[in-house]
């Protein structure tokens, strides 16, 4: 994607320009600019605390940028009001880090939830669709189980099924393989690949697992200190000479990335959702 792609050009599904976001004194996104084409699968890699999750949350409007824009199909997300954003989010399916399943509901109810909220289906159609989604993630017959009865990998796959249930145009995966064993990681990678191939959706995946990144991505972008420092198709990406990229791919402890060790507060945004309201969770608590 070049800077030449114009606003009217249909080849851009999501356009992010100079996105800037800070929580208190900590700058998380420092001018992110990236375009995503329709049906493209973009993988965003980067170390912990480099703002990957925060970027994802801007795309879906869970966080508002301090400056810069996120446009999806030509609509600037930050200009949407509360009601419009609900409508806007129908385009999206998002799979969260640990699945974020509703633990008071069964697997079936979890997958049915977005369908009941976003679509009007008869009971039969609903049932069929839920079964179909569970099949897609290779989890037939667990519908009656509670999330607490599933393994971590299974929970995430249920999360995927829930994310694709209402047939979104854009799929967002937040660290789908973090903390899973290599076999499950490979399986999840395949499921994602399978989903995005079959559904022809635009996919953005956030990960720091290089193997699944090369497997899933049509294009890989690396986020470091709030900026995209490299982006290229997987094969080309492997050959990039940037020492930071090479250090990350090969997982070396020594190198330019380690010298700029993540500062205090470099946590995943997951631990810091209150950041959303701009507070630091400190002394105001009793």
């Amino acid at each position: 994607m070049t800077e030449l792609a114009r606003k009217t050009e249909p080849a851009v599904k999501i356009r992010i320009r100079d996105l800037y976001k800070s929580f208190g004194p900590k700058v998380v996104l420092d001018g992110v600019t990236v375009d995503i084409a329709p049906a493209e699968s973009l993988v965003v890699i980067g170390g912990s605390g480099t703002g990957k999750s925060v970027l994802l949350k801007h795309i879906i409007g869970l966080l508002r940028p301090d400056s810069g824009t996120v446009e999806v199909d030509g609509t600037a997300v930050e200009t949407l009001g509360n009601r419009e954003i609900t409508e806007f989010r129908r385009k999206f399916g998002m799979a969260f880090q640990e699945g974020a399943l509703f633990d008071s509901m069964t697997v079936w109810q979890n997958v049915a939830f977005p369908l009941q909220r976003l679509k009007k289906l008869s009971h039969g159609e609903l049932n069929d669709r839920v079964e179909e989604c569970l099949q897609m993630v290779r989890l037939e017959g667990v519908g009656d189980k509670l999330p607490s009865q599933l393994s971590g990998g299974m929970r995430r796959r249920v999360g995927f099924a829930r994310a694709v249930a209402h047939q979104p145009e854009i799929l967002l995966f937040d660290e789908p393989t973090t903390g899973l064993d290599p076999v499950t990681t490979a399986l999840i990678g395949e499921v994602i690949l399978d989903l995005s191939n079959r559904l022809k959706t635009t996919t953005i995946t956030i990960t720091h697992d290089m193997e699944s990144a090369f497997l899933i991505g049509d294009r890989i972008a690396m986020l470091n200190r709030g900026k995209i420092i490299a982006e290229a198709p997987p094969e080309e990406f492997k050959r990039l000479e940037d020492p930071r990229v090479q250090q990350f791919i090969h997982g070396r402890a020594e190198g330019p990335l380690s010298d700029e060790a993540p500062a205090r507060g470099a946590r995943d945004s997951r631990d810091d959702p209150g950041a959303k309201t701009g507070e630091s969770g400190g002394p105001s608590r009793f």
Binding site: F102, P273, G281, R285
Partner: protein, 254 residues
Amino acid sequence: MKTPNLPGPVAGFFEEMGRFMQMVGRVFAWTPRPPYDWRELLRQMVKVGVNSMPVVLLTAMFTGMVLALQTFTVLSRFSAESFVGSLVALSMVRELSAVLSGLIVAGRAGSAMGAELGTMRVTEQIDALEVMATDPVHYLVVPRVWATTLTLPLLVILGNAVGIFGGYLVAVVLMGANPVAYVNRTFQFMELTDLLSGLIKAGAFGFLLAVIGCQQGFYTTGGAEGVGRSTTAAVVVASIAILVADFFLTRLLF
């Protein structure tokens, strides 16, 4: 926008107040909007009511008993022990039943709300709701708040009855008061407004403790430790709020 440099606790107080007001506003804004989740409302009412009932009744019983015991001793010093029945009944109905039930429900249901919503926040379930076009305040907070607001007065009615009965037991069985005279005194000076003021207070306490519990959970940060903090804060803040509100409501409702 930079906040002015207030000392930490003061800034924290205003922040919490602001959030509380915001939460109240959102609850009122979302309440009239469909879909109405009656089943969830009922489920929450059962949860609040049934779980807290044994403790509420036990507390009311012993409060009634100790009230009778204390007032009997004191009033007998100026030969006014015949008023024990009135005193116990009025104290329970106007004041004690509502406040004590409020505090107990804050400890049971309010803390549970803080913990439940807090866990949902740190495991991103609240984000997931938003992503699936569901307002978390509408879906989670609205049913909890109204369920508690409706259930607490019901608990208080039961608490009133049990408390008055406890007073009767002590006065008649232990202190040898005349049962007929005691029952007469119990209702002689009581007016409907006494009962209503207690119930209105109970409703207000229910609303307060549920909004505070949900608010603490909703803004949880920092993983499991944060959930613990929110749970504690839900009880502490709600208890203080109930005691402060009690004074002003009593002044308002006499």
